[in-house]
């Protein structure tokens, strides 16, 4: 029999600490419909799964029906692709091991896969974004934490237990800052949000020069970027220092991996050239000579909203189709 149609749509879900986005996406990455759930409205994981399934169901019913949906991809902090679980997430309210893929599959009767946000977003960049056509690249997720995903020869490197990519917890200074993971001197404790803020605080304490950052309550990396734009020298120095350390971390990663490109996404990447220029300079200064000037450092091209669900939808195409509704 000559088949004439396949299921042409998938569902992509991006779970964040504040809200969860979900969307119906077609083969070419067009977002046909999307919606969101605020996380503070659903306290427990069981309620979350029920609400999510219900809301997805109605979204799907309005847009082409369930029989056109092939599978579901979920991006979640601390998601493990191999087990389909959310494992000991530091930032989500659900503790321990949450078998999210199994829970969703039971309710929906569809194939479901779960991956961490860096993995999902790397898939998004590879399928629809600036890594399209690359076989070896690194996606850095620089936001509240610092994660990464490595593509090796056209496939995602997961590691033995699915934990690969923890660049945030590589040591850059042997007796450096205390990191929330318990170790000292982790890259994350310098380059992720809290690290950037701490650097700003330290610089303000060390110097007496005036700065727009002084006296600001709840300083955020975004505010520091704004101050850079206004020409505040201490703010520029914050990102120069951050970029310098990030450059060392990326150079060490690249010397071992020899990637075509390092793509930087996540909130802190919003600092743009204030961060990327010093990072690039420090990268070239520290990377092995065979690959210096060969690795492109690119900010992610997909918009934040798109990337979240597109990555998860790209993941969905990756799982074997399975459906109770043939």
């Amino acid at each position: 029999m000559l088949g004439t149609s396949i299921k042409t749509k998938v569902l992509g879900v991006d779970i964040g600490c504040e809200r969860t986005l979900f969307a119906v996406v077609d083969v070419r990455g067009n977002i046909l419909a999307k919606d969101e759930i605020r996380m503070d409205t659903v306290p427990g994981v069981n309620e979350f799964v029920s609400v999510l399934c219900e809301r997805m169901q109605s979204l799907v019913d309005e847009h082409g029906g369930y029989e056109n949906i092939r599978s579901l991809g979920i991006s979640a902090p601390s998601g493990n692709y191999m087990t389909g679980n959310i494992e000991n997430s530091g930032n989500l309210p659900w503790k321990g091991q949450i078998p999210l893929a199994a829970m969703m599959r039971d309710r929906l009767g569809l194939a479901v896969c779960v991956a961490n946000d860096a993995h999902a977003r790397a898939m998004g960049e590879w399928t629809y974004g600036c890594a399209h056509g690359m076989k070896d690249f690194i996606f850095l997720m620089l936001g509240y934490g610092l994660g990464s995903c490595l593509f090796s020869n056209g496939h995602v490197h997961l590691g033995a237990n699915g934990f690969a990519g923890e660049i945030g917890h590589c040591c850059v200074y042997a007796h450096g800052r205390q990191c929330s993971c318990g170790s000292l001197g982790c890259l994350e404790s310098y380059c992720a949000s809290r690290g950037v803020i701490q650097t700003a605080q330290e610089l303000m304490d060390e110097n007496t020069c005036p700065s727009l950052m002084r006296g600001v309550e709840n300083l955020t990396p975004e505010m520091i970027t704004d101050f850079c734009e206004q020409g505040d020298e201490l703010a520029i120095e914050v990102y120069r220092k951050t970029g310098f350390i990030l450059g060392i971390g990326m150079a060490n990663y690249a010397s071992v991996i020899n990637p075509e490109a390092i793509i930087i996404g996540g909130g802190i990447a919003g600092a743009g050239h204030w961060l990327i220029d010093p990072a690039n300079e420090s990268f070239e200064q520290h990377v092995f000579h065979n690959i210096s000037n060969k690795v492109k450092i690119i900010p992610s091209v997909l918009s934040d909203e798109e990337r979240n669900v597109l990555g998860a939808s790209a993941l969905a195409w990756d799982v074997k189709e399975y459906s109770l509704f043939k």
């Binding site: 494992e87 490595l150 020869n153 997961l158 690969a164 042997a174 071992v256």
Partner: protein
């Protein structure tokens, strides 16, 4: 069927070649001095002649399927030795193509860490593992990563330069031109330098002071005799190595890290502090999951690895 391959290991001092069968039995083996040939053309001519003589004397050339070679600074993707710092041949040498032309059969070339990893994967301690790293600790520090049962080569074939990750900003000068590379602390010369620095800083008695020549091996001898300063040399080396390897493991989540080459003979003096530092710095999800292993093949690793490499390429022969 052709059921044998030739594995060739080119090191700075000598070249070893062996005929190896499907199960990794070494049928015959021979060595000659690499630095007798200052010119790569002469070297390839001599090598091919020796391979033919060895194979003809041991079951015949027509039994050989292909040739695998291990060489410093070799690039698997291009089949070339690229700017080897220690070999007499400078620039880019298309060694695989040169030997293929002479021999009329398929030839593969890879660097020593890649070949060591293949050897361990096929015949050694990494048999059955999908994700692991091999670290070569010798005059330099190299590595090879297996990702899902495949070697991670990198975009241009240069992956694995763990010796040149920066462990100390503005640290020691490294042979590569940068500063603070791991290799400048934990490879052969780095260990000697650490010993010299410790001896200069301290006025403690040490057996190392009376050594005719300080080498990583003689420092181990002093450790065995309970020399505190010698133990401190390897403790410092181990801590640095452990932290760097912890970074690698946090990125790769391997099943095991396998150590080979000369410095790994330091045994517990190096690996106890290294493992301790590793466990302190590796990401908590991975803590306790990564095995530190010694290569189980050591002496034969290079030619066995090269033979495993030979099986990995497509058969091609002018002599059907």
């Amino acid at each position: 069927m052709k059921n044998r391959v030739v594995g060739v290991d080119i090191s700075v001092k000598r070249t070893t070649m062996a005929i190896v069968d499907v199960r990794g039995n070494i049928i015959a083996k021979e060595k000659f001095a690499t630095n007798d040939y200052s010119n790569a053309n002469e070297y390839v001519a001599a090598l091919s002649e020796k391979i033919i003589m060895l194979t003809e004397a041991n079951g015949g050339y027509d039994k050989i399927r292909s040739i695998g070679m291990s060489a410093p600074s070799a690039n698997y993707l291009t089949g070339c030795i690229e700017n080897a710092a220690n070999l007499p041949w400078k620039g880019v040498i298309p060694l695989a193509a040169m030997l293929r032309d002479m021999m009329g059969m398929a030839v593969a070339l890879a660097n020593d860490a890649h070949v060591a990893a293949l050897g361990e994967y096929t015949y050694g301690v990494a048999h059955g593992m999908q994700n692991f790293a091999v670290i070569t600790l010798g005059h330099g520090i190299g590595s090879c990563l297996f990702s899902d049962g495949q070697v991670h080569i990198g975009a241009e074939g240069f992956a694995g330069e763990v010796g040149h990750i920066c462990v100390e900003h503005e640290g020691r000068q490294c042979g590569c031109g940068r500063r603070g590379c791991l290799e400048a602390y934990c490879a052969h010369n780095g260990i000697i330098r650490t010993a010299e620095e410790l001896l200069a800083e301290s006025d403690k008695d040490s057996l190392m002071r009376s050594l005719p020549e300080i080498t990583p091996r003689t420092i181990v001898d002093c450790c065995e005799k309970g020399d505190e300063l010698a133990i401190e040399v390897y403790r410092q080396t181990g801590v640095r190595l452990g932290i760097a390897i912890a970074g690698l493991a946090s990125l790769m989540d391997p099943e095991a890290i396998i150590f080979t080459a000369g410095i790994s003979n330091a045994g517990k003096w190096l690996f106890d502090p290294a493992y301790d530092a590793f466990e302190r710095h590796v990401f908590h999800n991975i803590k306790g999951h990564v095995k530190f292993l010694r290569s189980s093949l050591e002496r034969e690793l290079d030619v066995l690895g090269a033979s495993a490499l030979a099986w990995g390429i497509k058969e091609y022969s002018l002599f059907k």
